[in-house]
Subunit: 218 residues, 2 copies
């Protein structure tokens, strides 16, 4: 019983800081994506392909969230854009305060799109508002087609779903139609993209849509 009360206080505090982040993003006209998925679904690879596609077209910055290591930040830094690494040291999700601290290290007036790559975890990050404009969930075909049913909170709260690694469909036990039907059953509003970071299939559709959020926003 005590635990429930304490957790609610934690969430209230998080939500308050998330509101401050959201106000700051709004003030600077920044559209913010919170990218969530299981470990190894390809969030960083999608980011890399997206940055290649949008290079010079729109000002993007990235916050990398990881339990350990700055491997991902180093990959993203190669694209010569502002990037901050958050290492949670065991923490299973980013929270609004961590993102707030990271913002001090970003040139906010020069950013139109901020992409926050969350810790790889299909469960906990669903409960933590970071002040983002929307959550985007990545599910790879190699994880099977039942993940939306088994981790519904994340698919319910997301605005878009990227089905990644579609080049592997011939080799894995995943029915793409069933995966997408399962996702839409949980959240009929989901905008769905199919991508492969190996063949680049679908990356332009996703990246164009992402960039178009800026114009809707400003």
């Amino acid at each position: 019983m005590n635990i429930i009360t304490i957790e609610r206080k934690v969430m209230e505090k998080n939500d308050e800081i998330a509101r401050q982040n959201r106000a700051l993003f709004s003030q600077h006209g920044i559209f913010v994506f919170n990218l969530v998925s299981s470990p190894g679904s390809g969030k960083t690879s999608i980011l890399e392909r997206t940055l290649e596609y949008l290079k010079g077209k729109v000002q993007i910055a990235v916050i990398e969230g990881d339990v350990q290591t700055d491997i991902d930040a180093k990959r993203i830094a190669l694209y010569n854009i502002p990037v901050v690494q958050i290492v949670t040291r065991g923490g299973c999700h980013l929270d609004a305060q961590l993102v707030h601290d990271a913002l001090n290290n970003l040139p906010l007036p020069n950013i139109k799109i901020l992409i926050i790559e969350n810790v790889g975890n299909l469960v906990c990050p669903a409960n933590y508002d970071l002040g983002e404009s929307m959550k985007v969930v990545v599910a790879s075909t190699t994880e099977g087609d039942d993940k939306p049913l088994k981790y519904p909170a994340m698919f319910r709260i997301a605005s878009a779903l990227i089905v990644n690694k579609i080049d592997l469909v011939p080799y894995v036990n995943c029915d793409l139609k069933r995966l997408e039907r399962n996702a839409l059953q949980i959240n009929p509003q989901l905008k769905i993209f199919e991508t492969s970071c190996t063949t680049n299939q679908g990356i332009s559709d996703w990246a164009e849509w992402l960039a178009s959020r800026v114009h809707q926003h400003s």
Copy 2:
């Protein structure tokens, strides 16, 4: 500050119940595996192949942990062994109390091996002792070769690593040698198996080893 204190109490309570579970397992001579991984790494498929291989050779029971749905328990029940589904309704890990409650529904005197399939999550389950004899972490080749470095706690606390989906190595960006080197860098004691649930490669090695734990134990 409050939060840290409360979390410690939660862990103390969990550890106390885990000790009770462990005593119960010891009393009945049951060897208990806590199977952990990212969502979609193939825990349930490995279980299916293992049960096929060991059918009639050793008495196995399964506890299935999922955030939502009894899809996995239904798959396992086809093998006609005792199985209990725990649905955490949003919870990101199993805890000792949930397992304790599940044990009331299992015929303990008739079980030699209990396999607990944890919620798909490479972070939180590392912190919760369930009273198991050992943790086994599954990492699939499709997740890339850097996961041990990025989620070190789970690889550090596990006794064995199953590298699954090795049939997909030709199609994905994963250096098997580097994956295993990264895992051993985190935990030099890790016993490593390579498996494919599509071709059955490596399943016999893993299943024989699993069954041999019983004899070591009794």
